[in-house]
Symmetry: C2
Subunit: 576 residues, 2 copies
């Protein structure tokens, strides 16, 4: 503290002086010209006449506080935390609230430990390039209708959440349990409350009494806001409304209409799920800011949402502003319209410049996250669908509705007591439990996918991340599963032209390869899959990933079989 | 939590439903109509159709979050904490950040313990009517030129601040020590930082580098803002600027000009020092709001400054808003213009209605705060001023400048080696150490007071609270001191018409009598003192209280003698 004061008083030399920039002030909403003096990673002062060991010429640039992502699943990038960090730091992020929901569903708490430790080991000039606030996932498993790799109940939540490792409780998706006053769920929420840790919400379309009740459970934020009115009501009830701009969802238009001069204090930015290609090509929160401002949000409010508001919501001391005694987490952009990031400082260390991270990222690969695909040797018989009536409940997808599915009764030929899909245009779908090699397999049929001539499979499948395989040939499906078993997870394709696999060696969810390799590799296998007839508008693998997510209407497939989400129960595949 | 959720879902009956009110929403800045459901002191929901054990008809009233005072010295009311609480609760306060700077300068930490415990014992239907966040005073003693009843150095601060008793570190008035990097001061600030406790500021007119340096010491708030530009700069540097409306100081006009649509998030309300009469007759934060809005502040921003902003600044969870899961701390007013308080709820308990507190307030009077005036038996010789040259440095006061004094050299007759003030119109002033009966006495002369025909004395004297006595007769001064010694402190007057004393039995600072008695008693003795010729515009006792405050220019008197504040040193009374 003494050294910092000495630097502020110009009695001592600073470590770094950032000179000649326009500095955006989140407290006033205005930009001011000045130099920023930094000592020991902290801003000593804003003014002129400082001397520094290093001087960074920022003439022509605008200094913003480092961007903060209020909610992100790193796993959704399919990148290692290290490769992920290199990209998001280059795009201006200095902190993220990470919810390792996916990997914890595979590896248990060890998955969370891995995420934290991977980020922790990164160093740019002795500093962590990215501050990671880790949430303990609250819904492992997400539903009772699937087998995940771990179970974290109320008791374990109490124990784990008290660890310093965990900053808060991850998105509480199981809002029906909260509203019902479910004992185990309330045990988790009470633990968060007692520990004074933030619980994140996930309550799409909740309103009125139900929203009040959900808030009584202690949730402070929500990223599921699907209308202007919903954003407004949640903010009015004191929730922090997350402005989300991920790969497949964004609510920017709604936010622009919902946020006003007062309630904008309650809006914070997040990306939730963003894949490697989008992160790399479109960007991270810089992309969000660019688009948000383009949609009509005043730039100063947009920046506050990505900085000060996040810091206030989560109580991140010394973050979210460019001011004395704050950490020198700074993102230098060309302007506050396009938000092109030119340089990023984390605690006074230059971590990225002109789109390139300036820190190396040797992979940390502990055993706990490797070799996580445990399945029995598959055989073609596993995929046979016993059938008498010839009537099956199909999962219908369409380009207009790739996320929300429909249930449709289809009639199929029956041969030797089994459904025969040849010539129907339908595909078989299987979800194979992959954590304990139990052999448990759910079978279903999908209408509208268009795929033919083989099989595709993936080991990313929300939320339990069992193997999902789709095809029109039992043999090809068998082979696709074998490929994933051998690779330890990933994306596989089996066609008449041959077979290929892109491995996700980390928990079957992420690749330890470079971002470039991941983008190229997953891009290629996806293109090849699409060439096998996938209906335009459907994403060969990404749509697959969501076909087992048993919390989104209407019908889904898990290793337990077909789930009617509206009735929240397993239903028979065959209609008798 | 389960019961609360059940109430929100209307499956269970609430404890209380407040019906038919307009509810002001601090998140949106708008007012909405609805009922408020309360269970176990917490708001379960806002809506309609709730059933409650009790129903409170609030038709025609506006519900605001309970008012929060960000900085107050309870002792300045000269009331017991209990009597103080009855008044401020009736005026809409539900929480205060209390800095027991005065009593700790007399009684040490025991004084702080007393303040907290007095409030703690109050109960309205099982609830505390007032939430008290207690700061550990940072400047005991305030200067090296005076004897206070206790010394709290850096080491003791580390120890005390770690106690749950203390919420944070009280106003750091000794800003020169911070700027100089004084070791003992930084030890205190570092302790606050390590413990994550808020340190309050006090840095009048600090700007530029000095302000940056002060912030590097960790101060988060400031109530000393004496210009529009100062308010703006402090807010821009991330400080919470306190809107102050006490008995003798207010910056409402400046705040109205300084606060805008963005920086108003950084403005919070306080009263700092407010005497019993003003509290009782004008009000507390209701008075501040009324005046602030009259000066031109939009009412919605004014209310946010007195509620949400304070809660955010100090991290007061569950306070500062009317929303689900927040404590039911509610102030019901007639409108958002005059802010006439009609009812106050603290955690769902009705604590005041129509200006009257609904809780009793039996005094807690531990030995630690009683009998605190320790002086030797005074004699007229104590007040003789040895003098050869006949030239003395007088403390000059005037109605235009009762707080800031001037130094003026005066010529006086000399008789037997002593100054003789008869017929000069000057008064003698003495400050007598009263904590350890050391007999240490500082002597001075005052010009411009107008007082004649006896003496007045008081045991409230910032910041060390020694006895201050002023008069034109050594005998009367002797008697006045004797009266205070007998009474254990208070206000005393000795005139040709007789003598009187109003005791401050609590630490020589506060009276255990009722507010009515205190207002009447102190009013009477003050009126009698004024009748002894006190210059119009000077307050007989209050001006006296500040004549020993050795941090405000230009010359002051302490038990060490005359202090030149600008030179920050003790200077001789006589000019040779």
């Amino acid at each position: 503290m003494k050294t910092l004061i000495d630097c502020a008083m110009k009695r001592a030399k600073c470590d770094l002086v950032i000179k000649g920039a326009q500095i955006f002030n989140v407290f006033t909403g205005k930009t001011e010209k000045g130099d920023i003096a930094v000592k020991n990673g902290v801003i000593a002062g804003i003014g002129t006449g400082y001397e520094g060991e290093k001087v960074y010429d920022a003439a022509g640039l605008t200094v913003l506080p480092g961007f903060l992502d209020a909610h992100i699943h790193v796993e959704s990038s399919t990148l290692s935390p290290e490769a992920f960090a290199q990209i998001v730091c280059a795009h201006g992020a200095t902190g993220i609230v990470a919810d390792p929901h996916e990997i914890v569903n595979v590896c248990g708490v060890a998955g969370a430990e891995y995420i934290k430790e991977s980020f922790e080991r990164l160093r740019a000039g002795g500093k962590r390039p990215l501050e990671v606030y880790l949430q303990l996932p609250s819904c492992v498993p997400a539903t009772p209708f699937e087998t995940s790799g771990a179970v974290i109940d109320g008791k374990e939540t109490e124990r784990e959440l008290s660890r310093e490792l965990f900053f808060g409780l991850g998105e509480v998706m199981n809002f029906p349990a909260v509203l019902a006053g479910d004992e185990d769920m309330l045990r988790k929420l009470t633990a968060a409350q007692k520990l004074g840790k933030v619980a994140d919400g996930h309550a799409p379309a909740l309103t009125g009494d139900a929203l009040n009740a959900y808030l009584c459970g202690g949730m402070k934020t929500d990223h599921e806001n699907i209308s202007v009115e919903e954003c407004k009501e949640k903010a009015a009830r004191g929730m922090y409304v997350q402005v989300r701009c991920g790969s497949s969802t964004n609510n920017l238009k709604d936010v622009v209409l919902a946020a006003d001069e007062y309630n904008f204090r309650r809006f914070i930015t997040c990306t939730d799920d963003k894949n490697a290609r989008d992160l790399s090509e479109r960007g991270h929160l810089d992309d969000l800011l660019r688009r948000l401002v383009k949609e009509g949000m005043p730039a100063e409010r947009a920046v506050m949402m990505a900085t000060l508001n996040v810091a206030e919501c989560y109580g991140l001391k010394g973050r979210g502003a460019v001011a004395p005694a704050y950490f020198a987490d700074l993102t230098l952009v060309e302007d506050m319209k396009d938000f092109r990031v030119r340089a990023v400082f984390k605690e006074g260390e230059l971590t990225a410049e002109n789109g390139k991270a300036l820190f190396s990222a040797e992979r940390y690969l502990p055993k706990s996250v490797l070799g996580t695909v445990h399945v029995k040797e598959p055989s073609a018989d596993d995929f046979k669908i016993p059938c008498k009536s010839g009537k099956l409940r199909a999962i219908a997808v369409s380009p207009e509705s790739t996320i929300v599915t429909q249930e449709e009764i289809v009639t199929v030929p029956v041969k030797d007591g089994f459904a025969c899909l040849e010539g129907t245009g339908l595909c078989k779908l299987a979800v194979i439990e992959r954590h304990f090699a139990s052999g448990r397999t759910g079978l279903g049929v999908v209408k509208g996918y268009g795929f033919r001539g083989g099989a595709i499979a993936i080991s990313v499948a929300h939320d339990a991340h069992n193997l999902v395989v789709l095809g029109d040939s039992d043999e090809a499906m068998t082979r696709a599963v074998s490929l994933l078993k051998e690779a330890g997870g990933g994306m596989a394709r089996v066609g008449k032209d041959g077979e290929e696999v892109f491995p996700f060696d980390i928990a079957g969810l992420m690749s330890s390869a470079s971002a470039e390799e991941v983008i190229r590799g997953t891009g290629e296998i996806t293109a090849h899959a699409h060439a096998m007839g996938v209906t335009e508008g459907i994403e060969a693998f990404m749509t697959l990933v969501f076909l087992s997510l048993a919390v989104i209407p209407t019908v889904r497939l898990t290793d337990y079989g077909l789930v009617n989400v509206n009735r929240f129960e397993v239903v028979p595949l065959e209609v008798e």
